[in-house]
């Protein structure tokens, strides 16, 4: 690992690769260019956006309507004449469904979803034309039925050429909070902005001129991004990678015409937000980044297979450092139940089948991301 991963004139590098003569027009929102004295072949970025791709449900995607959360289910269970007081007084409704946070995890429906029967969850079952990542790193959008969990041998054989679907959208597609105007979109980058989650990228293109692979690093950082006066993360921050090596992910890839695509790699990054303290574990992931020499911005997609246990920890149980779950209020706010989601994920999982059971242990997912130039530093000892 080198000391400072961005020792580069980012633009000089990109321009050289892309055949641009010089630095492009600095747009009004641009954050300057690298000091002319910097040289090297490694570019660094800090992500300013990292979002699930949730295209929104079409009119025929959820024929039975959206899923219902705990509050809605409770109200639906009451005779119409008894609903009114709860509908008028949200606090009364909250009290009726308490506790939201359980001291005893055994009692918590979100801490132990597998211990409860499947209450059912409406998912998108019809053919969908949505973004998927092909094996060559390109994006496709052809209409397809839900992926099925393949046989273990078939999955292993196909992996190198397999299109990574976005089955997780099928799971969450009929959830109110995951629609484009819902809570998930509204809070999409809040974990980055509030400093809970900092993700760094480094692109070492030193071998690219010789036609060899580009090395890409994806790291978590324990340091928050710095927010500018426009409310967005600032470029050119110096950010150290997290000390834990499990959050140092390296992939090899190719850079052509300003588009970087990687081979398959496993990814672990810190996934934190509010009370959540977890990690995102994607298996056999691929990254596609477009590097814009005019603005210095890198944007693209990360596709992969989300390990189900990691998903359950971060997106169903929503566990904090103490092991307590805040899954129930989150599920209610979005409009689903924890066991419902748990079983839906199991049903639609399409990756890494267990040789013993044949059940898939991961589910395909697609994230969009955007990064601005940054200096990616080696891990630093705690002060």
């Amino acid at each position: 690992m080198i000391n400072v991963r961005n020792t580069v004139a980012l633009f000089a590098l990109q321009c050289a690769i892309l055949g641009f003569v010089s630095v492009g027009i600095t747009p009004a929102h641009a954050a300057g260019i690298a000091d002319a004295g910097l040289s090297g072949q490694t570019s660094g970025y800090v992500l300013t956006e990292f979002r699930l791709v949730i295209p929104g449900a079409g009119p025929e995607d959820c024929p039975d309507g959206f899923n219902e959360g705990y509050s809605q289910r409770f109200l639906a269970s009451l005779p119409p004449e008894e609903r009114l007081p709860y509908e008028k007084d949200p606090q009364m409704l909250q009290q009726a469904l308490a506790p939201w946070y359980y001291d005893d995890p055994a009692q918590d429906p979100c801490a132990n979803p597998a211990a409860l029967p499947d209450p059912g969850m409406r998912t998108i079952e019809r053919p969908l034309a949505m973004l998927r990542m092909e094996a060559d790193g390109s994006l496709s959008e052809r209409e397809q039925l839900p992926s099925q969990c393949p046989a273990p041998e078939a999955f292993a054989a196909e992996l190198e050429h397999r299109t990574i679907d976005n089955q997780y959208w099928r799971v969450m597609g009929c959830v109110r909070g995951y629609q484009p105007e819902g809570l998930a979109a509204a809070f999409a980058d809040s974990a980055i902005l509030d400093g809970s989650m900092t993700i760094l990228l480094s692109v070492d293109a030193s071998a690219s001129d010789a036609g060899e692979a580009v090395e890409v690093g994806i790291y978590s950082s324990r340091e928050p991004v710095t927010i500018g006066t426009d409310g967005k993360p600032l470029a050119w921050a110096s950010l150290p990678v997290a000390a834990e090596e499990r959050f140092h992910n390296v992939a090899r890839g190719q850079l052509h015409d300003g588009v970087l695509t990687t081979d398959r790699f496993d990814l672990r990054i810190i996934q934190a937000a509010q009370r959540l303290d977890s990690e995102l574990y994607l298996r056999d992931a691929r990254l596609r980044l477009e590097l814009d020499p005019a603005t210095g911005v890198a944007s693209g997609y990360l596709a992969g297979y989300w390990d189900i246990e990691s998903l359950a920890h971060a997106a169903i149980r929503i566990q904090d450092r103490t092991g307590l779950s805040s899954g129930k209020p989150a599920a209610d706010a979005h409009g689903y139940t924890c066991p419902g989601k748990y079983y839906a994920v199991q049903r639609l999982a399409d990756g890494h089948p267990d040789p013993a059971t044949g059940n898939c242990r991961s589910i395909s997912v697609l994230f969009s991301l955007r990064g601005v130039p940054a200096f990616v530093l080696d891990a630093q000892p705690s002060p």
């Binding site: 500018g228 006066t229 530093l377």
Partner: protein
């Protein structure tokens, strides 16, 4: 303080203070220093007030209130302080600050730090504890011992507060507040006394010398040693003066004083009113603005005090202190997680020298763009001590709208200079500022403006060059640059204003400065030990 007595005490205090501060109240048998003629009064600048309070009472005492704006004259707030007065509303603020300080000092929480004895409320005029407190802090605040009358009037305050039902601590609070709102504290008052060496001539009295020296080098009130030296008359003896100057120059507090000098010279007080377009310059946060100033001050301290290097080289210096927030402005990596690292720009970098620092580039720019004109003006005024006249009253600003269609500042300003009414002054400023155009309105590096490659060629007094480094080199070799620093430091120090004394002294100081290799420490020492620096031209009426 108890509400029941508040108005009575306030009324009483006003009367007592009026009496204490009015010359008519001074009896004929006043002590020597009170008889001395006042020749100058300098209102403490905001930073001097703060530093003085911090040095007298410690950092734990907070100052609550709003200062009257300092006044800049001859490029400096320090020079303007000789012309500044106190308005009625300004006095209200000083009063509020004085009361606030007194309340903290004599409040239950901190009182023990300042009042080591137990005051007796029975008879303040005969209580050694009260007298010790007031005389001690009075001397620190007035920068000389209190006269008997000055002390007595404060003892009166204590007695009368007690007489109307207040406690002795409340009495002391009012007495201390009266010291803090007295002109003798708010102004550095310089007085002269008959010069025993030259019949009919006058000289600054020792305490005035001590204060001038202390505010010059430390930007604060004289310390105990300096007051003792003044009391012993050592400051009138060249050797005694040299000893004290050497002590002050060797002290770490010199850095505080020089920071104040540099901040004043570079107009950092105007950072407070500096605003930038939040969308265009998102990096310009309040933290970054603070760090920018700190970087420049650290650079100057390092170069001029720590390294005792040639002043002229600060314009070509390649390294500067850097910290994480500033790294985002300079677009360079900063490995140290906290604090400052020295960062050396490479030869290939467009940056180098003081003028490429973001503090100066931000300060002399518009809210939404750079400004070659403002940057050129700043260089002329600050580093060459030249005066560029303001725009004429009948200037046609609508011309600007026509120029706005041009893509680059160079093109806009070239058209500008084609107007005869603008050309006269703009040709003095623009060719300098245009060499800094690779730095935008907050000092971030760029190579293009509106898609056009930025041309950074320029000139200074006939010398042609390109870019910030070229400008730095030209300034470092410009004859006026060291002369200007001498002039600035001299004015900052508050030396004699008499033109003939000034001219001779400045010539001599400039020659010494050159001979010393342009070392600031030598210049400070030269000024502070120069007899002429303390010269006064006002003769004392011996019969007064």
């Amino acid at each position: 303080m108890p509400d029941v007595n508040y108005h009575r005490i306030l009324l009483l205090l006003c009367l007592v203070l009026w009496g204490a501060s009015t010359p008519a109240a001074v009896p004929a048998t006043q002590q020597a220093q009170a008889r001395d003629a006042i020749v100058a009064m300098y209102r403490l600048t905001q930073s001097q007030y703060r530093q003085s309070i911090a040095d007298i009472f410690g950092d734990s005492v907070r100052i609550y209130g709003r200062f009257e704006p300092d006044y800049r004259r001859d490029r400096l707030l320090a020079a303007g302080s000789a012309w500044a007065s106190v308005s009625p509303s300004g006095f209200e603020q000083y009063d509020q600050m004085g009361r606030g300080i007194a309340e903290q000092v004599l409040g239950e929480q901190l009182r023990g730090q300042y009042l080591s004895c137990e005051p007796n409320g029975d008879s303040p005029h005969h209580d050694p504890c009260i007298q010790f407190f007031l005389a001690g802090y009075g001397e620190k605040l007035f920068r000389r011992p209190l006269t008997e009358d000055e002390l007595a009037s404060r003892l009166d305050v204590v007695a009368q507060v007690i007489a109307v039902g207040g406690t002795v601590q409340e009495g002391l609070q009012y007495a201390l507040a009266s010291l803090l709102t007295s002109p003798e504290f708010l102004f550095r008052i310089e007085s002269v006394e008959p010069d025993p060496q030259s019949l009919g001539q006058s000289r600054l009295n020792a305490y005035s010398k001590a204060a001038r020296l202390s505010y010059f080098l430390w930007n604060t009130t004289p310390d105990a040693q300096l007051l003792v030296a003044a009391q012993r008359g050592e400051l009138h003896d060249p050797e005694g003066l040299r000893r004290q100057v050497a002590r002050l120059l060797a002290s770490p507090r010199l850095e505080t004083g020089m920071r104040s000098l540099f901040a004043d010279m570079l107009r950092f007080d105007t950072f407070g009113e500096l605003s930038k377009d939040v969308e265009l310059y998102p990096v310009f946060t309040s933290t970054v603005a603070q760090a920018m100033q700190e970087q420049t001050l650290q650079t100057l301290i390092q170069h001029l005090l720590v390294e005792n290097a040639d002043y002229r080289d600060v314009f070509t210096r390649e390294s500067m202190p850097m910290e994480r927030q500033l790294g985002m402005v300079y677009t360079v990596p900063v490995t140290s997680p906290q604090g400052w690292d020295a960062y050396r720009f490479s030869e290939a970098s467009a940056r180098g020298g003081l003028l490429s620092q973001a503090s100066l580039l931000s300060l002399h720019a518009h809210a939404g763009s750079s400004s070659p004109t403002l940057r050129g003006l700043f260089v002329r005024e600050t580093f060459l001590c030249q005066t560029v006249p303001p725009p004429p009253a009948d200037v046609d600003f609508t011309l600007e709208e026509g120029f706005a269609v041009e893509a680059t500042a160079r093109e806009r300003l070239t058209r500008h200079r084609s107007e005869p009414v603008c050309a006269g002054c703009h040709h003095l400023m623009d060719p300098i500022g245009l060499t800094l155009e690779q730095f935008d309105g907050v000092g971030m590096y760029r190579t293009r403006e509106n898609g056009h490659v930025i041309d950074v060629s320029g000139e200074l007094d006939g010398r042609k060059f390109a870019g910030a480094k070229g400008l730095g080199q030209a300034l470092s070799e410009h004859r006026r640059v060291p002369e200007c620093l001498v002039d600035t430091v001299y004015r900052y120090a508050g030396g004699p204003q008499d033109a003939s004394v000034q001219r001779t002294l400045l010539e001599s100081l400039t020659a010494h400065f050159a001979a010393s290799g342009y070392r600031l420490r030598d210049l400070l020492q030269q000024i502070a030990t120069s007899e002429d620096f303390y010269a006064v031209s006002t003769p004392v009426d011996q019969d007064a």
